[in-house]
Symmetry: C2
């Protein structure tokens, strides 16, 4: 089966065909940078990351754009999130933006989320947004109020609601929508807000000084870098309404072309069964989580659920994920050690490869079914079981065979899922650590050769005290670093 994706626009699984063969254009709504990113961001962006990685693994060139919202994200209270952050920290809004944009990329880098090709900022695309608003006004989809705001008129765009299934009529009666006098319809949304001089984030426009609404930035930036119609729009399901719905309305009203062709949206994240909230005491930033767990464990945990499903972040579940990752890493370490020691042999032994290949097929089968990572991970563990038996069975294995197996881990666990680093020793200080441990294991071997078990055990104990666990195996000792956070 070729790749199928669940498209929120049609509410069904469809074969995935990019506009241009081998070239995928993809946009995901990025964070509003007014605070450190939390676990909800980790869930969305790790899930999207694996989608991008897999599309590339299939041979596509992916142009991945993800914005940074540094202006215009208005809260229900009418406050701008960035200005709120700046007030809290008593600093210039752009300093707040700088701090948290950096924090965001630090966390994503730590989680192994591959950087987008372009990370455009909302404040860096004011003229583009103004052009869009002008177009919408010209075509009669927007109106200016006497107070200098500009709104999108949802009644002019009959397809409004087509992504989320929300009906304009229902919203009219909706209790949660505050009816503001200047709007023609309660569901109309702001394209431009007038701002008085005391408002620090403001720009000149045909409608006076002000700032753009939140939704218009994504329409402007996605189309600027990907074209009027592009392949995939990703993001969190919680933004499907109103944000994603508004993006579509703005884009399609102005251009008459369809906007994103496939909408891939991720389920949300709860902590211990409830929505994360600062007042609830269950709020975890990514930095908090990285102090407690390894990046691979966090990724593995997130990927153990399907990206469209919600996940519940519980300590025991993440610890289980950590053990799962460690099992994979241990096998790969053993495999790579064997490769070093193995006799060079040009080609892989085809009978072993025949046992291994079905696992790659199962992995691809799972991923082709709307990026079913839980099933793909299951395939990886089936492979791991097989490889463990191969390695512990007392039979000679040529380097060609071993390196074919290693290649499989590097592709599936490394390139696609991002849970098996290319260098498993790098995590713990690289070559130097390996070199030092080898000196110590060498001394220990001399004690053992001299049957001085007491001294040999003392060394093992000393290593354990600093977190190095030695595992004596028939083929010689191996070691790994105990994750003390776990």
């Amino acid at each position: 089966m070729k790749l199928h994706v669940y498209n929120y626009l049609t509410r069904q699984k469809e074969p995935f065909k990019p506009l241009e063969r081998g070239q995928v254009t993809m946009y995901t709504c990025g964070p509003t940078v007014y605070d450190h990113p939390h676990l909800g961001h980790a869930k969305t962006y790790v899930a999207m990351d694996v989608i991008v990685r897999y599309l590339r693994y299939l041979g596509n060139q992916v142009r991945y754009v993800q914005n940074i919202t540094d202006v215009g994200h208005i809260l229900d209270t009418g406050e701008d999130r960035i200005l709120k952050g700046a007030r809290r920290e008593r600093s210039e809004p752009m300093e707040v933006v700088e701090t948290y944009t950096r924090s965001y990329f630090e966390d994503m880098d730590a989680l192994g989320v591959v950087r987008p090709n372009i990370s455009p900022r909302a404040s860096g695309h004011i003229p583009e947004q103004i052009e869009w608003i002008k177009m919408l006004l010209e075509k009669g989809y927007a109106y200016e109020t006497p107070t200098g705001d500009v709104y999108f008129s949802v009644e002019q765009f009959p397809e409004y609601g087509k992504l989320s299934g929300q009906k304009v009529e229902e919203q009219e009666a909706g209790a949660r929508v505050t009816i503001r006098e200047e709007k023609r319809h309660p569901a109309d949304f702001a394209l431009w807000k007038r701002a008085e001089p005391e408002h620090i984030l403001r720009w000149p426009s045909p409608w006076g000084w002000g700032y753009p609404g939140w939704h218009i930035e994504c329409t402007a930036m996605a189309t600027k870098y990907l074209g009027e119609t592009f392949d995939i729009h990703g993001g969190g399901l919680d933004n499907i309404f109103p944000h994603n719905e508004c993006e579509i309305a703005q884009a399609e009203a102005a251009t008459g072309q369809s906007f994103a062709r496939y909408w891939l949206l991720t389920g949300s994240l709860t902590v211990d069964g409830v929505k994360m909230g600062k007042s609830l005491g269950n709020f975890l930033t990514i930095k908090d989580a990285l102090n407690l767990y390894t990046p691979e464990a966090i990724r593995f945990f997130i990927l153990s659920s399907h990206y469209r499903s919600p996940v519940d972040f519980r300590r025991d579940a993440v610890l289980a994920a950590e053990r799962g990752v460690e099992r994979l890493h241990n096998t790969v370490r053993m495999l790579r050690k064997r490769m070093e020691d193995a006799m060079p042999s040009g080609t892989a032994d085809l009978s072993y490869i025949a046992e291994i290949d079905p696992h790659r097929d199962a992995f691809i089968e799972a991923m082709n079914d709307d990026f079913n990572t839980p099933q793909a991970i299951a395939a990886l563990f089936d492979l791991n079981k097989e490889v463990n038996s191969l390695l512990t069975a007392d039979q000679p294995l040529g380097r060609g065979t071993l390196s074919a197996i290693d290649g499989l881990y590097r592709d599936l666990g490394g390139k696609v899922l991002g849970i098996i680093p290319d260098d498993l020793t790098q995590n713990v200080g690289g070559e130097l650590v390996t070199g030092l441990i080898e000196i110590i294991l060498d001394i220990r071997q001399r004690y053992r050769d001299a049957k001085d078990w007491e001294e040999a055990d003392r060394l093992r104990h000393q290593l354990a005290q600093i977190g190095i666990e030695v595992d004596d195996r028939p083929e010689g000792p191996t070691w790994h670093v105990e994750h003390r956070g776990g």
Copy 2:
């Protein structure tokens, strides 16, 4: 003596007094992000970094703004640098910008250059630049050509040339200035350039679609975040004309206020005596240099010359810097080791402190004299000599005394110069490496106690093979990592 700085505007040393006591506003022209940063960038930004660090050490709150030029930097050939980079790599200009902005910050982070509080991008401030151009047109300092470009008229601003000493009249005769027909005076410079649809980097403006000239971005961004008049403008001396001169002309013509109050400009960098050039084969990126030398050695080397002086990057000079840094690090390692072992004693021994304090004074005296880092480094080495004698003399030292000395290193070598990391073991893999080496040194000590010199030497040799040099001292062995690049 209080801090004095050499102000290029007055060509003399002046006492430094910020507009608001204890608050310094500072701007430095940042890189054009179309390629990996080179050693010239390292020289400018490390020098500026130490100025910012020292101002903070003196207790000032510094708001440091440094732009990213991602549009509008036109070469003599009339080509935009970013577009040139994009053509070379066959990618979207904003992908090029993304790649090299990231590369720039990676290198600066590696060199320990503290991040600016705000790093605004030129492409993110198009409306601001348009507002400036409108002001200059309204006040008669600029004119629009029939082809839709806007130029600044240098003849309207009699002070043009006041920073660089270049005279408008002399330029008229200048052979190197291409006289373009549409300019009223050959020294007039572009504020806005018209761009045809095939030009990818363009925005709408009152003068049609186009893009801003290079100089206007710095005027717009500096004043946006620091106010019309601010304290310090930094940068490389090679940008004094025309770039810095144009910034002043634009700002002061439009606002009638003085722009930057102090101009602090750095000397240039040559490699093996000649200007760096890709065709000359002496072009070194920062990444190249970091493969060969430690970040501290590169900083130390740059700071061994005064920031206004040119420096010549030669391998032997950088290796000498590396040895210099290593001498400081060795003493600090020894000092910190002694601190761990020392008897706790509440207060510092005043007689030692009396010997140490003059070195701090000498350091501050040097830095107050226009940031004279070569002399400040000399003061640090005088301190180091003193500390070495203290540590090797066979006298007891209380923890209070040792930690007062350590505090001095942390302030002067760490916070201000950035050449002594707070954690000297972190460089080489952190706690784990330290723990492993201690196990090995412990075994070696047992061999020595048993007078088994052969085995003890074998261990020393094994450590040396992986780059750990053991140094036996009367107070016990110390170790350091040999920099193999050096």
